[in-house]
Symmetry: C2
Subunit: 216 residues, 2 copies
Amino acid sequence: MLPNYPGVSPLVTRRLPRYYRHLTELMKSGTERISSREFADMIGFTASQIRQDLNCFGGFGQQGYGYNVATLRAEIGRILSVDKSHPAIILGAGHLGVALANNMGFEQCGFRLAGIFDVNPAIVDQTIKGCVVRHTSELSAFCAEFHPQVCVLCTPPAVVPELVKNLVSYGVKSFWNFSQCDISTFYPNEIVVEDVQLSDSLMNLSFHLNEKLGGH
Amino acid sequence: MLPNYPGVSPLVTRRLPRYYRHLTELMKSGTERISSREFADMIGFTASQIRQDLNCFGGFGQQGYGYNVATLRAEIGRILSVDKSHPAIILGAGHLGVALANNMGFEQCGFRLAGIFDVNPAIVDQTIKGCVVRHTSELSAFCAEFHPQVCVLCTPPAVVPELVKNLVSYGVKSFWNFSQCDISTFYPNEIVVEDVQLSDSLMNLSFHLNEKLGGH
């Protein structure tokens, strides 16, 4: 299958969720339309950057009117495919896995939570967000029956390579990766990986804090 | 105070932690030197991109030799200031806050965990990773005494604007923000913000998964 937006830079598409999130807030507050300047101030980008980004998908504003909030939100939501409901599983039901199960609006982001897996007998059979935690040994049978499209990896890094190999063979197409193991190089043409490398993020904060404080 | 690396793009500095993480793994495995090609394959970047990135800081490789792992790791660690030990506090001791307290190597990223705060009486006074959870009402006195430089925001978004206002007045200089509230526009010249917008990340995965699957 061909991608819908083959020429658009990942730097642009990565900004779309931020637009979508703010447009959702605007809708909740009853705002019907917003000027590109006001929208830019709200988001913290320039109006020109927003126009350039949206022009990659055809542009959605009108000169002198600005943006219709509901229309723009619907368009960006469609581009992001948040109206889909791809089944997702969480591997690893420690504090992080439980936090994601409880607090992430998977349904608002194009997914639905279909299963949670762990190897710890103290956790298996507990119910989290309406899902009974299954033992990881049941993964193969579960995938054969429910065809999860995305796996949220919240396991220790050491077990990740074997797990990913198995999951790819079970048909899992994408990974939301919290494991601190770089899996993007394993199957570069077969799977989609979104990394949340928390230690990288914290080191980035360290860099910028020290730049602000000045001097080493 | 002046920044040390004023002209370097944030896109470049954001890649440094990834280099640092892989160099740490190489050191652990006893590797003393690595060619730029091998290093590129390991990281998933091109050798040319790595050279360009490192040249922003003076470059650290030698033609025909590659990189000395320990030296390059030390240099990048120094640039990232991971040898610092800035006191950090976590606000919000739900599953996410506890996961970060337990699993993040703050000490390896330039910080040390100095305090955890929550408003829930069932959590206050518990001990997490050697820190007694304090009530959020003690923040002002704590900051006056211990001068935390960074606050990890794991609270619901609704309470964030008031909290950040107070923390800035208490001298907190930087925020690791998991709250889904965009605080970067609040005090753009006063504070450093590193956002971990998990719903943005999940929507980004949704976009790329659907691009891979093809068709809307």
